[in-house]
């Protein structure tokens, strides 16, 4: 008995010493969609540097941002590294480490192969900077895409019927007006010969999803020549919802038109107000719809769907109708209160480096942020659409605000958008003006 107790105590001491002996323990917080990739990158990093141990904690989107903010404002230092959503840049910036300043202070830690200029320029800013402060390196590049059933669009019989009905060729819609016709054609209720039950899968729930979905429709108006003339150039911090001088832009004729486009399309979609990411993903996966605006991460699950095989022949990827899809994505940054800043800096360089960026795309469908990865022959062979549609989408993307007040602005607008789509309130400039007034209040004006 005594011997056993002694052995256990000794083992405990040895384990404790092993822990103490390690140079550093990094705590990495991550959103669930980034977690698998970060976990593998962390494993690779630990193999390279056995003296460091990395613990990756996935936190849901709703939880991650408040937790980061709570930690940073309290100065607790509960995490060393975190993925941060591009919209949260303004709110978290004061508590994040300035990477450019840190690199200047520690030139010996800078990876000579990091190649900062290799990042796509928009990605470099929106996933990296708040004003002049470098709060992260681009980790997950994302804009929404328009996925469609390639086999149906290429079907000669369907092409013929479409031509007869609409007097033009069946093609992937370039704008939302065309999308309405194609969606109608592929909805059984309006066309009994349609091979799919619905034309398009749309997610318009009362969550943050609606805030970004609206931009897919408003973006094309905001970024058109008339839109730029009326509202001015888009500021990457204030985003497309605002004019160049920081006033709300959506309470306009263009905002009403965008909402009307959404309302018009709703009759071709399965339960748009009751569907979110999971429901629409499932609808496309089961072959129920012909088209769907979605993020790239869904590709991984669709590849497994029996109804979508052979995948390359059945699923096509295009730029969002209107050409201004909403941007998403994540940066990877360091807590200013981290006790392991040096290792954290090494790790984020590794994770966002060329090798990591390529691995993330090929294995986890996490959008690349580096030009060299998009031009990589292996990546080109794997995803030929990436070079065209991806870069075009990312460079022409509409952006949500990145200012600290963003979450509150989001909820105020989403509430009213949802009421308009539900028919509880009229789709008019007056209704949107009310929201704009609320926004001004939130912004303290």
């Amino acid at each position: 008995m005594r011997k056993t107790v002694l052995m256990v105590v000794l083992l405990g001491i040895v384990l404790l010493m092993a822990q103490v002996g390690q140079a550093a323990q990094l705590v990495v917080w991550s959103s669930p969609d980034n977690a698998d990739a970060i976990h593998e990158l962390a494993q690779n990093f630990m193999q390279k540097y056995p003296e460091v141990s990395i613990e990756v904690t996935p936190l849901s989107w709703e939880v991650l941002y408040p937790r980061i903010l709570q930690d940073l404002t309290a100065g607790a230092g509960s995490f060393d590294v975190t993925t941060w959503d591009l919209m949260t840049a303004g709110a978290i910036a004061p508590g994040m480490l300035d990477l450019d300043a840190f690199a200047k202070e520690h030139p010996e830690l800078v990876d000579p192969n990091f190649d900062d200029q290799d990042f796509i320029s928009t990605a470099r800013y929106v996933y990296g900077f708040w004003k002049d402060k470098r709060i992260g390196y681009p980790f997950y590049g994302a804009a929404m895409f328009f996925f469609y059933r390639k086999d149906l669009f290429n079907d000669p019989g369907l092409q013929e019927k479409f031509r007869a009905k609409y007097g033009r060729e069946l093609a992937v819609p370039r704008n939302w007006q065309e999308a309405k016709e194609v969606a109608e054609f592929f909805t059984k209720k309006f066309n009994p010969d349609s091979p799919t039950e619905y034309g398009i899968a749309l997610m318009f729930p009362r969550t943050h999803t609606l805030f970004y979905m609206f931009l897919n429709f408003f973006g094309p108006y905001r970024r058109s020549a008339e839109g730029v003339n009326k509202f001015g150039q888009v500021d990457l911090d204030w985003g497309d919802y605002f004019t160049a001088d920081g006033k709300p832009a959506f309470n306009s004729e263009e905002g009403v038109k965008a909402l009307q486009d959404m309302i018009d399309l709703m009759k071709y979609a399965p339960d748009p107000l009751g569907s979110d990411y999971g429901e629409t993903l499932e609808a496309f996966s089961k072959g129920m719809v012909a088209m769907i605006p979605q993020w790239t991460a869904c590709l991984a699950s669709w590849k497994e769907s029996p109804q979508l095989q052979p995948f390359e022949e059945k699923v096509g990827v295009a730029v969002m109708p209107g050409g201004s899809p909403v941007s998403g994505g994540w940066g990877l940054g360091i807590n200013a209160n981290s006790k392991n800043q040096e290792w954290a800096f090494r790790f984020i360089q590794y994770a966002t480096g060329k090798e990591g960026d390529k691995l993330q795309w090929l294995k986890y469908r996490i959008g690349p942020t580096r030009k060299s990865v998009i031009d990589d022959p292996e990546v080109k062979a794997d995803s030929p659409w990436l070079a065209e549609a991806y870069v075009q989408s990312l460079e022409g993307a509409s952006h949500r605000p990145r200012i600290p007040e963003e979450p509150k602005l989001e909820d105020v607008l989403v509430g009213t958008l949802s009421e308009i789509l539900l028919g509880q309130r009229p789709n008019s400039i007056e209704t949107l003006n009310e929201v704009a007034r609320d926004w001004e209040k939130v912004l303290g004006r």
């Binding site: 941002y65 408040p66 107000l273 569907s275 429901e279 007040e405 979450p407 509430g415 539900l422 509880q424």
Partner: protein
């Protein structure tokens, strides 16, 4: 003798002290801080120190459309789900008494109450799925068209009310069933011998004896219904529109999702607390619960 009594008092106080410290630290201090914060502008996302603004947060609540619509739905839930739960709970308790297989039914009936709200929320979201959900599947068997349970105002509200009734009727049943067991059988049997029908015995003897418990359950359910959060969070997220946006859910969004607007969320919470306190006190006084329970 005096010294002994004093020592006993001190010992007693020392024994209670740890609990008192925990109570002060975890209940009284946060509560006082919440009241204090409700008079301040303090949002973590702005990285600014709290600024005293008097009653501004409270004034803003009256002009806040989302707060008003959240009150609407919460009141709707209160006046529909709670009475339904009480009626069903009473009915099931009476029906199940002396019923064949009583024990099995009793255990099965308690399952919804024991399922964690998060799990129940996920399960109901799947049940309500427009294309693949069992609810619409069973309706289609009887020739009904598909219902957008989460995409229309009427059905999303009905959906949340149904979940609340499903989850909390067992609680009402459990309390009243236990109450029924404690009613002396001799009283009921004596009334039957005197010529009362079963229904009369139920109406004039059993229900009056159960009344104190019914009031207690009602007060508990009213408080719970005013605080409904988990089902809304998991199933509808307050939508579509403002159809199922409950008041507690709004407090969560203001206090956490919006980037920690501590001041405004505190003011909203104080209003909820006042509403619960007033409503339960009115209820307690109306039904003379203190006298009934001899408190």
């Amino acid at each position: 003798m005096k010294r002994n009594a004093r020592r006993q008092k001190i010992t007693g106080f020392l024994m209670v002290l740890p609990l008192l410290i925990v109570f002060l630290g975890l209940t009284i201090y946060p509560f006082a801080y919440m009241i204090y914060m409700s008079f301040h502008r303090y949002t973590l996302a702005s990285w600014e120190k709290p600024e005293f603004i008097g009653f501004k947060n409270y004034q803003d609540i009256w002009q806040d459309r989302t707060a008003r619509s959240s009150v609407d739905f919460t009141v709707l839930l209160l006046v529909t789900a709670v009475p339904l739960e009480i009626l069903l709970g009473i009915g099931i308790a009476f029906l199940l008494r002396d019923f064949f297989g009583e024990r099995v039914f009793r255990s099965v009936l308690l399952v919804p109450m024991m399922v964690p709200a998060v799990v129940a929320g996920i399960a109901w979201k799947m049940l309500y799925n427009f294309d693949f959900g069992p609810m619409n599947y069973f309706l289609s068997i009887f020739g009904f068209p598909k219902i957008s349970w989460l995409g229309t105002q009427f059905f999303s509200r009905l959906g949340v009310i149904l979940i609340d009734v499903w989850q909390w009727t067992p609680f009402v049943f459990l309390v009243l069933y236990a109450g029924l067991q404690s009613i002396p059988r001799e009283v009921v049997e004596a009334s039957l011998v005197d010529g009362a029908s079963g229904l009369s015995a139920l109406r004039y003897i059993e229900l009056p004896l159960l009344r104190p418990l019914i009031w207690v359950v009602l007060v508990i359910r009213v408080i719970d219904a005013l605080k409904i959060f988990d089902v809304v969070y998991m199933v509808t997220f307050g939508g579509p529109g403002s159809a199922t946006h409950s008041y507690s859910f709004y407090i969560y969004k203001v206090g956490i999702s919006f980037g920690w607007d501590i001041g405004y969320a505190s003011a909203l919470s104080i209003i909820l607390l006042l509403a619960i306190t007033i409503l339960t006190n009115v209820l307690i006084r109306t039904v003379r619960l203190r006298e009934t329970l001899e408190l």
